[in-house]
């Protein structure tokens, strides 16, 4: 039905983002017979939302017999893996569900077995206390999930960006979206909404100076976190920032493959320095690897290099194959650069920053959720890299599935009718969009974003202090006031304008949370040069961020409690 220039849709579940978390949330809802609408900025459901490609590793407990392979064993290690800032209630449930969800994904036709070995090829990496990472050819991993959603007859709106949630009395009832090819606006009323739009990128400068050359998808711009914030949802761990080590000039992923298959990192003196930072050396957590790289550069020991020269030809072959599953163009990059990583050192840079899970499994930065994946706003769920328990592909799959099951409970348990669409909200967001497309708007979004990136890089990045953070907050608030002036040349540009605003909003939340945490934790993930020590006596606490009258307001909560202890709403009845 079209009224006043937009289309109205009604559904049980609206999923924002068609990546691993979003599709896995849709699946249990479809199985329970719910109507599902998925909005996705891309045009296919067949690739991962975080990297747009296949998958090369899947982290799971399999419960095959040995103690290390049980949920209980991994759960016991989670506090140390997260430097004690973790919601154990949710993380434990995610880990307990891992074997079941792994088997379920296998039943969709994903082959996790190594073709040569005929069994699972399980590797140890990133500081985990067991060989939890299955190294496999996951080129078709996401295709199998996408196929499942298509078979379930979900309605998928492609090239569609959700720009605002509809909320009344702390309860979500849908969202407003537009298609950036056709210009069509859609207002979707839903009994529940799952936000699964991924992490925050394009938030700081990188070596190439190209904003879209980012380690993870540059089209993931914290849309879920920003929309959730505006809707009144609580966020946590926003002070923690994530960096990785990448080939200099190309922010490509693949660190997991490199370290789990035995690569070394050396500094300009030829020293294998990782052991100075962690007894596990290159097998330390990503946060430690990135922190070590950053410190070597700060100490004047740069450049840092990747060293694979000691590896056997078989291992190098596996590495080369794995790297191109993760990033198809990496071999072409090495070729155009004229570097042979099998025989030569490859210069490594610190990547641009992102807000995701700060190089640590099970501690996500984003929307706070309970053990059903539900946020502090009723009927609003979150999963994947935009939620507070994040664990790569597996974390997204498991929490996504939990959120989908939570949705089924929430929808079945609620009988009251959905509110009528807030027409003024729709009209106001459309008027704002029209202004961005008009001649009155003059501020290029690229320039606006560059100002955000410079501010974050210089003052909210891997080294922070009180003065710099206050300066950054002033700049980011001043930029917020200029948002109405942002100019979109066309519908595609209108999408970018909304993304730019979301990137800025996330940067402001990060700066606000960083100012509060007066200690350093997890190395460069939150390094306060004015408070250089980890202060366990005062800071085993979450920093929570919520919308206040004049911007983000922060509070703290002891990690002895789940984040949901700070929620105003009641939990869903099981």
């Amino acid at each position: 039905m079209t009224t006043q220039g937009w289309t109205n849709l009604e559904t049980d579940l609206l999923v924002v983002g068609g990546g691993v978390a979003g599709t896995m949330a849709a699946i249990p809802a479809l199985e329970a017979g719910l109507k599902v609408v998925i909005c996705e900025k891309g045009k296919v459901l067949d690739h991962c939302g975080s990297i747009g490609c296949g998958v090369d590793h899947y982290l799971t407990v399999m419960d095959t017999g040995p103690e290390w392979d049980t949920p209980a064993f991994l759960i016991k290690h989670v506090p140390e893996l997260t430097d004690h800032i973790v919601d154990m209630a949710v993380a434990s449930r995610v880990i307990e569900q891992m074997p079941r969800i792994f088997r379920k994904i296998e039943s969709f036709g994903v082959d996790f077995k190594d073709k040569q070995l005929g069994t699972y090829y399980r590797l140890r990496s990133f500081g985990l206390p067991g060989t939890y990472h299955i190294n496999f050819d996951g080129t078709d991993f996401k295709k199998c999930l996408g196929e499942r959603v298509r078979k379930g007859k979900a309605t998928v709106l492609m090239r569609t960006m959700v720009v605002q949630l509809l909320v009344e009395d702390n309860r979500a009832y849908g969202a407003i979206a537009f298609n950036f090819r056709s210009g069509e606006w859609t207002v979707i009323r839903a009994k529940a909404v799952v936000l699964a739009a991924g992490d925050v990128n394009r938030i700081s400068r990188n070596a190439s100076g190209l904003a879209f050359d980012s380690w993870h998808f540059p089209y993931n711009t914290g849309d879920a976190q920003a929309m959730g914030y505006h809707a009144g949802a609580m966020l946590a761990n926003m002070e923690s920032v994530e960096a990785t080590l990448t080939p200099k000039g190309f922010s490509a992923q693949g660190l997991n493959a490199l370290v789990s298959l035995g690569a070394y990192f050396v500094n300009r003196h030829g020293e294998r320095f990782m052991f100075r930072y962690d007894k596990k050396g290159e097998n330390a957590r990503r946060a430690v690897l990135a922190d070590a790289g950053i410190n070597e550069y700060l100490l004047g020991n740069g450049p840092v290099y990747l060293d694979c020269r000691h590896l056997s030809p078989e291992m190098l072959d596996r590495m080369a194959y794995t790297l191109q599953v993760d990033r198809y163009t990496l071999p072409a990059f090495y070729q155009q650069k004229g570097v042979n990583f099998r025989e030569e050192l490859v210069e490594i840079s610190i990547s641009e920053l992102s807000i995701r899970r700060s190089g640590v499994y099970f501690r996500g930065s984003g929307l706070a959720v309970d053990a059903n994946g539900e946020t502090s706003v009723e009927a609003l769920f979150a999963a994947g890299d935009c939620a507070t328990v994040s664990g790569g592909i597996a974390g997204a799959a498991v929490l996504g599935h939990m959120a989908g099951e939570g949705v089924v409970q929430r929808v079945r348990g609620s009988s009251h009718a959905l509110p009528e669409v807030d027409r003024r909200a729709v009209e106001s967001i459309r008027a704002r969009a029209a202004r961005h497309m008009s001649h009155d708007a003059t501020l290029p979004w690229r320039q606006f974003e560059d100002e955000v990136r410079d501010t974050v890089t210089d003052y909210v990045g891997v080294r922070r202090n009180d003065k710099g953070l206050r300066l950054a907050l002033d700049t980011l608030q001043a930029l917020a006031r200029r948002e109405p002036e942002l100019k979109a040349d066309d519908l595609h540009g209108l999408m970018r304008v909304h993304e730019s605003c979301n990137v800025r909003m996330n940067a402001q939340m990060m700066a606000a949370a960083s100012l509060v945490r007066k200690e350093t934790r997890t190395g460069s993930s939150h390094c306060r040069v004015d408070h250089p020590q980890t202060d366990d006596a005062s800071w085993r606490k979450f920093v929570l961020v919520e919308r206040g009258e004049r911007g983000p307001e922060t509070t703290t909560l002891s990690v002895d409690q789940p984040l949901s202890a700070a929620f105003a709403r009641a939990a869903v009845a099981a």
């Binding site: 990188n206 163009t329 003052y459 250089p532």
Partner: protein, 110 residues
């Protein structure tokens, strides 16, 4: 089929088109071989950044890289191209990068 939901053919605005000519040279993210390209729409369909535009069914016009500076260099267009007509070309600042990594590590001293 979900992927056929939106058919609207769309071309980017003249202002954008003018800027692109210049940017295509600076960022040259992909090169399309005019002889090999069969004008099939697949690169437009798969590009995750909404950067490649090709009028559906038009068998004479080449696809256009409408927003070259927004390329992620993922190569999905290259991988899906049925005739291998696409090649990803990395720009100079990526291949031979001279950035001082310290400039990425903030202005806040110890």
């Amino acid at each position: 089929m979900d992927d056929t939901k939106n058919h609207a053919s769309h071309t980017c605005s003249p202002a954008v088109a003018a800027r692109n000519e210049e940017q295509a040279l600076a960022f040259n993210p992909i090169r399309i071989d005019e002889q090999k390209c069969v004008r099939c729409d697949l690169c437009d369909w798969i590009c995750p950044g909404d950067l490649i535009y090709h009028e559906e069914g038009n068998k004479t016009k080449l696809p256009v890289i409408a927003y070259p500076d927004e390329c992620w260099y993922c190569g999905l267009c290259q991988s899906i191209c049925p005739t291998d007509a696409i090649e990803v070309i990395f720009p100079e600042q990526m291949v031979h990068n001279r950035t001082d990594v310290l400039s990425l590590l903030g202005k806040v001293g110890a």
